[in-house]
């Protein structure tokens, strides 16, 4: 089974890098084509958030800001538990082409392996919850 770790797309856009940059890195731009509501603190380590009418939302952590050529952020991998630390990294690269822009987006990290360390931590959590709940029941029984 081929397991994609990396998604890469390049598009040629008939607008200058400054316009594309604004669309990628401002709340106004992001909310016009990506989320339906967006906020962003555009600095490395800053956080961003997008929301959709469905109620779905995505938290981003800004990693690279090199106006107007590189914008990178990480976000949570869908489907994993909220507190799962694994994230994918998304990087947009803007390259001027005449009057337009060649925009490349690369998202990496889908194939982060379920490492033994993580697996044991996760299983540990699962067992931990079971025993915590057991202890709670015992405590309540004893208190009754």
């Amino acid at each position: 089974m081929a397991f994609p770790d990396r998604i890469e797309r390049t598009v040629d856009i008939a607008h200058p890098p400054a316009k594309v940059w604004a669309a990628l890195t401002t709340a106004e731009g992001l909310s016009a084509w990506f989320g339906q509501e967006a906020s962003i603190d555009l600095r490395p380590g800053g956080s961003g958030r997008m929301r959709w009418d469905s109620g779905f939302s995505a938290e981003m952590r800004v990693e690279r800001v090199e106006e107007p050529t590189v914008f990178g952020f990480t976000w949570h991998i869908f489907g994993l538990p909220e507190d799962d630390p694994r994230r994918t990294y998304v990087e947009f690269t803007l390259e001027p082409t005449g009057a337009g822009t060649r925009l490349t987006v690369v998202e990496t990290g889908f194939a982060q392996l379920t490492e033994d360390a993580h697996r044991s931590a996760y299983d540990g959590n699962t067992k931990g919850w079971a025993s915590e709940l057991g202890e709670l029941v015992e405590y309540l029984d004893a208190a009754a």
Partner: protein, 154 residues
């Protein structure tokens, strides 16, 4: 490339999920917590024998853990670690950059031409169910609440 054990884990998850009875058993364990084969037979329209057979396969695949329960009955508990491998695979397939980049181009074109059109929100995200619904449903460009049924993750 994937390590063989990870690939094997993903294969077992997808094989397990390919069967409706096993999906029903996993759903029951996910929603109701650990249960014995007898418990499950009482909740699902499946014989205890068939359930026991599927539970053995699910245990072999590492998707459920057999543990001692009351009155010396074996109780089965969902084990979700292998599912995460499959989830990451699905997350990569469901990421719709083609749709998003198309929306970005449309937005920039509209901005340049000064026209204001209602946006087709193409963010189908991650949810295979949402993608399937979109494909089978409408491709209207109006602002209908077509995403209303999209499940939240987690």
């Amino acid at each position: 490339m994937l390590q063989p054990d990870v690939e094997a884990a993903a294969e077992k998850v997808f094989a397990a999920l390919a069967d409706p009875t096993r999906r029903a058993i996993l759903s029951a364990l996910a929603s109701g917590g650990p249960a014995t084969a007898t418990d499950l037979a009482g909740r699902l329209p499946i014989t205890r024998q068939a359930i026991a057979k599927h539970l053995a396969l699910l245990t072999e695949a590492g998707l459920v853990l057999a543990e001692p329960g009351e009155r010396r009955r074996v109780r089965y508990r969902l084990r979700s670690a292998p599912m995460q491998v499959a989830q990451q695979f699905l997350a990569a397939l469901a990421r719709d950059w083609d749709g998003q980049l198309g929306a970005l181009k449309d937005y920039l074109d509209q901005q340049a031409s000064g026209s204001v059109q209602e946006r087709d929100n193409r963010w189908l995200t991650y949810s295979p169910g949402a993608r399937a619904r979109r494909r089978s449903c409408c491709r209207r460009r109006s602002g209908s609440p077509r995403h209303a049924g999209q499940p939240r993750p987690g």
